[in-house]
């Protein structure tokens, strides 16, 4: 009795351990409240919004098309491979099986990067095709793995028996061998479909501009905090994969064993025919839609996630007739290698100050023709061009798009004393109530400014002092995070957090107890600006796009949507809400502050120095 109970509890614990995260996800997907901390009642709203989101539906469509096509093609190739491997000598077959199994054991990131390099060296344009090829590649071993055992079980005489009874080689294969290995083929293709459906890493490395699958889309969306629609989407993906896996595991058992009636046989044949028809239709429709999208008048835009009002893109397309192929990235560091490798030829990108400097130094950008962009000249405040000249001397390459400061966001109900210095982040009163940025430059900025140093310093003594400060602060910090500062602060989960000013405005709208300050020791004033890379295929359209973004009404729409400060003076004048127009968070009077700086590109050695010190601090 006791042993039995213990066994049940053990099993129960294992299941809890395995499924608790997914249950949490599914529960949250029905939570009416936007924050994770509160349960706001049951709702299906997020699922509804999910299916109205065009971008997500497009990603879903891409995912299904790629999964279906790659599974189909991999199944054909894998099955043919099995047939010929079956005919080989045992030794060769074993060697070949080993070779085909290696890609499955190989780290996905290695496969992803090697495929990317291969496509670059072959000069293949990154897009739907490269993802498809990559998926076929990693799917083939799964097909072989599930067809081969069936093949081995096959009585080799049945094929000869069919020939003996007058069948041609083709007839013998399709009438006799194929039905016998069909369960293996079906489970192999289902397996391939599932693998393709939930692949992220390889897709991430082989995708091109303007195309996303669900997994890469979710990853991009996460940049601006995880929206509840994403819980809904992830829940749906989990359920789909679960159902497929159950199907995969059940297929081999559902063979007809005893007597079967003529009728059931016919209906299963019809079923297979129906499935094949559906697949062919989807493939045909898809083929049509890719041809259709092959227009020449387009502009490829590569921007931060959630960094534009989607409505603006629609308006741009309607007014100019230029199709926008829009892609998002999460950090400057993710964007840079894609542009540098040339896998994706974008027309417009929106990097941050130090990254623009790095791209200029590495000759990746081309000069802009301001004659084509009257709005950029007229509407952007001169002081912002002055500021951007720090990383873009002579203002040749960049049009400022957004700017802001980094400061401390605090909860007035939890912090009573006035906040005006970085030093409050070292106050033991707030142990376990402090949120720091989990990125090397932002964290060191705080440490350096606290001690009165430049945040672009390469002086090792200064950096050591900053490192010691960060190590000292570590026990007080609740978490090192990026996007979650916003959500945690809204939910009242921490008292103090280092945050970007644009996020601060948003958090105040959600939670009135929050207040933002720029510490007196100075901080980072950053600028993100539009640039055009050297390999841009449509420079003219790029300039039309940048100029459109600088139009006052458009800049206003973007400001209201993303809440990051705009350098567009004309747009600022249009802001109706006086409180916001004169907000010290959105538009601080920078002359009141000292020691404001913009990040510089420190060179590879500098980056390495910062990274190694950051690693030391974090592993201390």
């Amino acid at each position: 009795m006791m042993r039995n109970a213990a066994r049940k509890i053990y099993i129960f614990l294992i299941f809890i351990f395995l499924y608790a995260p997914i249950i949490a996800l599914i529960v949250l997907s029905f939570n009416a409240s936007r924050t994770r901390a509160k349960w706001g009642g049951f709702t299906l709203k997020w699922y509804g919004e999910l299916f109205q989101n065009k971008v997500i539906l497009q990603a879903l469509w891409n995912t299904l098309a790629i999964a279906l096509l790659s599974a189909l093609i991999a199944t054909v190739i894998g099955t043919i491979a099995c047939i010929s491997m079956q005919g080989m000598k045992r030794r060769n077959r074993t060697i070949l099986m080993g070779i085909t199994n290696i890609p499955m054991l190989n780290a996905e990131i290695v496969t992803g990067i090697s495929l990317m390099l291969l496509f670059i060296s072959l000069g293949i344009k990154f897009g739907f095709m490269t993802i498809l090829l990559a998926h076929i590649t990693f799917n083939i071993p799964y097909v072989i793995l599930s067809v081969m055992p069936r093949m081995k079980q096959l009585n080799p005489s049945t094929y000869e028996a069919a020939l003996d009874l007058g069948a041609s080689h083709m007839q013998a294969f399709f009438k006799v061998v194929f039905p016998d290995i069909l369960p293996g083929i079906l489970s192999g293709s289902l397996m391939a479909f599932t693998m393709s459906l939930d692949d992220f890493i390889i897709t991430h490395f082989t995708k091109g501009p303007g195309i996303d699958t669900l997994s890469t889309k979710i990853y991009t969306e996460v940049k601006k905090g995880i929206k509840p629609e994403m819980y809904a989407l992830s829940s749906l993906i989990f359920i789909t994969v679960l159902i497929l896996l159950i199907l995969v595991n059940c297929t081999p058992k559902t063979e007809p064993k005893k007597e079967i009636t003529e009728r059931s046989k016919n209906s299963s044949k019809k079923w297979i025919a129906a499935v094949v028809c559906v697949i062919l239709c989807i493939v045909a429709v898809f083929g049509f839609s890719t041809f259709k999208s092959n227009q020449s008048n387009e502009v490829y835009v590569f921007n931060w996630g959630e960094y534009i009002d989607p409505e603006v893109l629609v308006m741009f397309e309607e007014e100019t007739g230029i199709k926008v192929i829009y892609d998002e990235y999460e950090t400057n560091e993710i964007m840079y290698p894609k542009v540098e490798a040339g896998t994706s030829a974008y027309d417009v990108i929106c990097p941050s100050d130090y990254m623009i400097q790095k791209m200029i130094e590495n000759d990746l950008l081309q000069e802009l023709d301001f004659d084509n962009m009257p709005n950029a000249v007229a509407n952007i405040g001169a002081q912002y061009y002055e500021q951007s000249a720090a990383f873009d001397p002579g203002n040749k390459y960049c049009v400022p798009y957004c700017w802001g400061t980094v400061g401390i966001l605090y909860n007035k109900t939890m912090v009573e004393e006035p906040v005006d210095s970085w030093s409050i982040l070292w106050d033991e009163k707030y142990a376990n109530n402090i949120l720091m940025q989990d990125s090397v430059r932002d964290a060191f900025m705080v440490g350096l400014k606290l001690n009165g140093f430049s945040m672009n310093t390469l002086n090792e003594n200064e950096l050591q002092i900053a490192k010691e400060a960060l190590i000292k602060q570590k026990p007080l910090v609740q978490a090192y995070v990026v996007d979650q500062v916003r959500d945690k602060m809204i939910g009242g989960e921490a008292a103090l957090g280092v945050i970007y000013s644009g996020e601060a405005i948003y958090t105040q709208q959600e939670n009135a107890d929050l207040e933002y300050v720029i510490p007196k020791e100075g901080t980072n004033v950053w600028i993100d600006g539009w640039v055009v890379p050297k390999n841009a295929p449509n420079k003219k359209n790029a300039e039309i796009f940048i100029d459109y973004m600088c139009r006052e009404d458009i800049a206003l729409m973007n400001f209201e949507y993303i809440t990051y400060s705009t350098p567009n003076e004309a747009a600022r004048a249009l802001i109706e809400d006086e409180e916001i127009r004169n907000s010290s968070i959105a538009f601080p009077d920078l002359s009141q502050y000292q020691n404001l700086e913009t990040f510089n590109y420190l060179g590879e050695d500098g980056d390495e120095l910062y990274n190694s010190l950051w690693k030391e601090a974090m592993s201390y």
Binding site: N155, S157, T158, E160, A161, A162, L163, D164, L165, G166, A167, S168, Q171, K175, V176, P179, D180, E255, P256, K257, K258, E259, I260
Partner: protein
């Protein structure tokens, strides 16, 4: 060569370095039940596969019904094969299995239905049309395999150890079944087996093969009673094979004792092999025997006792209905008709052929 349905001419076949068949010549008469008998690796299955079209000989010709079919693919040959492991199509019903060849040939539905009924009746499995092969016993599956082959009305049926996977009792039943089928159908059977009893029971003609060479061709009686060499003698049934000297016609010296025999023409004082079947060795009182010995082993086998008798340095195998306990001193006597004299192998090739069990 009259009425020869099949003629294998100078067939040579090797896989890699391994020579399987070396210049094999064989003809098969119409309506004959011919068995290829030999140990595994003797080339009998390869011969059958060359006939079926699954292997192409390196050299030589296959003449079938007057036409050269050496390079004809299996599906163009008017003959059918019954495979060792039945090779039924497991995803089809019994009826679909049997109809397979007829459907390929686009026969009408009524024709096919009639044929299925007829074939199932012939193999005593009426009413099994809608069963699946998995639900049948081994013996039943083998009959379906035969039914599936014969509905195509082949002139020649090739059977590759079809009873090898069945148990003893079932195997014996199926032997009679096959003889009956052959007689009812009136077609030629070529049967491959390593089981000498099967071969002796069913065949009109037995071809004993070893290491790619034909050792002897003959009727079952002929093969059993007058093996041409030690290999055949040893492979067909139990026997005492003893080195001896032919003193003169009708007199042979075995283990130092002289035995009367009926063979002539071997010359004088010539070394030979003699074959004496165990049932032909008579145990008598010591003084009546040609040589004397002592019983060393005794086993009861049902219809007879099997004994080993040590005499003049040789362990004689003896089968008799009369029991002599271990230790008994006995005499050994052999009827002259039951002593089979064989030439000793002379060439190295023939040596290689020798007993290897």
């Amino acid at each position: 060569m009259k009425n020869a349905l099949v003629n294998l001419v100078n067939i040579t076949k090797s896989f890699g370095d391994q020579m399987i068949l070396d210049d094999l010549n064989l003809y098969i008469r119409e309506n004959e039940f011919l068995t290829l008998l030999g140990p595994s690796g003797c080339g009998k299955t390869t011969t059958l596969r060359i006939l079926g079209g699954f292997e192409t000989p390196d050299k030589g010709q296959v003449i079938f019904d007057g036409k050269d079919i050496t390079n004809l693919p299996p599906n163009k040959r008017n003959l059918n094969t019954v495979f060792q492991k039945y090779a039924l199509f497991t995803h089809m019903t019994i009826a679909e299995n049997i109809a397979f060849g007829l459907k390929i040939k686009n026969k009408s539905k009524t024709y096919i239905d009639d044929k299925i009924k007829y074939a199932l009746k012939l193999v005593n499995l009426d009413g099994y049309e809608n069963r699946m092969p998995d639900s049948l016993s081994g013996g039943q599956q083998q009959r379906i395999a035969i039914a599936r082959a014969i509905v195509n009305e082949p002139k020649l049926l090739l059977l590759d150890e079809p009873l090898g996977a069945l148990d003893l009792k079932l195997r014996q039943d199926m032997q009679y079944e096959l003889i009956r089928l052959k007689n009812e159908l009136g077609i030629t059977f070529i049967y491959v087996t390593h089981d000498q009893e099967e071969a002796l029971t069913m065949s009109d003609t037995i071809v004993v093969m070893n290491q790619g060479y034909i050792q002897q061709i003959g009727t079952p009686e002929n093969i059993y009673n007058e093996p041409e060499n030690a290999f055949v003698a040893d492979f067909i049934g139990d026997s005492n094979i003893i080195g001896a000297t032919m003193i003169q016609d009708r007199l042979v010296e075995i283990l130092g004792a002289r035995f009367a025999c009926v063979d002539e023409g071997f010359g004088t004082n010539k070394p030979v092999d003699v074959v004496i079947r165990p049932e032909d060795v008579e145990l008598v009182a010591p003084e009546e025997g040609t040589i004397q010995g002592t019983v060393t082993h005794l086993i009861f086998k049902g219809v007879h006792y099997e004994m080993e008798v040590e005499a003049n340095g040789y362990e004689w195998l003896v089968q008799s209905t009369r029991m002599c306990p271990v230790g008994t001193h006995v005499g050994i006597k052999v009827d002259p008709f039951n002593i089979q004299i064989m030439n000793k192998p002379e060439s190295e090739d023939e040596e290689a052929v020798g007993v290897n069990e």
